[in-house]
Symmetry: C2
Subunit: 221 residues, 2 copies
DNA sequence: GATCGTCTCCCCCGCCCGGGGGAGGCTCGT
DNA sequence: ACGAGCCTCCCCCGGGCGGGGGAGACGATC
């Protein structure tokens, strides 16, 4: 009995690529495709796939929400393998927190992709980049995305608060606006901003925001 | 005699997707793949493909430089179809200026992708998004990317100089550094920056840079 | 020739930003 | 109990940034 896979990605090209790679395996069968997160639930109900290969960034309903929705509404949910372009994509960690079972870089080699699908299908949680897996191990990962996600964030060397400030910076907010949003003083925000600039090696907030985009920490779209 | 295609993209998944889509056509044959621009020249020499489907953003040598290199060094160059993720990717227009014959969005449907390959193979220049094509027509496009590219830039409402300044802003340069780079006074740069902010509806340079990333005007990677 | 748009440069001015340094309270783990 | 790390807030201060307004030079267009 082969591993059945549902592919969810807004780019037809990526879908075709995944299908080509996976269908070439005798023990893996692609049973369906969806172009956005909103279409996932009914397809999961009908096709009952073992694994869902889910893009994080999608129109209508992104991979995080789609993951939550599937886990919340489906009785025997499939394993969810989050597919992403960026290594440090913050969305991925959110998806893992939401209950995804592993993630996979789009630039991975076909053999790695196949391996990842087999692993999650067997119930193994996997976090692809070696560095993240090491961190997960060091922090005593229990097999759930939750702890690994936190560890991965730690890898960015930013504290949670600093990461939050950077996220708001990357949305164009001023220090005063960030302070208001976080319900703290502007001086506090300034401290965090300074810490972020120092840690990222940025000279000003603009450079920090650029780094955030380039590292995939925040989404361009 | 089928149309032969060389696929150049750093993501194996995209390569597999293109291959799957194109090889499914009886009149199209994928004759090779490359993962970066540097490998293109020898492959083109050896395989002599009719069309090169080339990603813009790649390691080592990007699509623009690779396009230039191919057209400069190969005697009977293939048609070059630039593949991109973002609709307004400035790189695409540069690639067209460099001599590419058309461009294609990754989120295009398989049928559109196939159609694009056939078109450029027949010697037709194509610019995928309808808006750009309309603009190209309005400005009396002669079939070459050059004019269309200029028209598309015009669409952004920024003058060339302003676009140049925004590009440097998005690389983290200060006004003084931009002035030095462009060999003008800092007051001049301030004028351009102010114009950019006004046209983009941005409050400060950070917001302008965010807009540049989100619109695909500049590359995240 | 007149007009328009662009690029260039100048002035004044207010302010947010970022650097440096310091400090109190909190929760950890040892 | 102690230190480490984090979050919070405070001070002073300089400088880059952005707004407003103005202006000369050039080319294209009409």
């Amino acid at each position: 009995m082969p591993v059945t896979v549902l592919i969810v990605d807004d780019e037809p090209l990526v879908r075709a690529g995944l299908r080509a790679v996976l269908d070439a395996q005798p023990d893996i069968e692609v049973v369906g495709e969806a172009a956005d997160g909103a279409a996932v639930i009914p397809l999961v109900r009908r096709l009952r796939p073992d694994v869902v290969a889910m893009d994080v960034r999608m129109p209508l309903l992104d991979g995080i929400e789609a993951t939550r929705a599937v886990l919340r509404t489906v009785a025997e949910p499939p394993k969810i393998l989050v597919v992403t372009t960026f290594e440090n994509d913050e969305y991925v960690y959110e998806a893992l927190r939401a209950g995804a079972d592993g993630f996979l870089l789009k630039r991975a080699r076909p053999a790695e992709i196949v391996h990842a699908v087999r692993l999650v299908a067997e119930g193994e949680s996997l976090l692809f980049p070696a560095s993240v897996r090491q961190l997960a191990a060091r922090y005593g990962d229990d097999g759930q995305g939750n702890r690994a996600a936190r560890a991965a964030l730690e890898r960015a060397r930013l504290t949670e608060r600093e990461a939050e400030v950077l996220r708001l910076m990357a949305r164009g907010l001023s220090n005063a606006e960030i302070a208001s949003r976080l319900v703290v003083g502007t001086e506090t925000v300034k401290s965090h901003v300074s810490a972020v600039l120092a840690k990222l090696g940025a000279r000003d907030r603009t450079q920090a925001v650029i780094a955030a985009f380039e590292s995939g920490f925040v989404a361009p779209g």
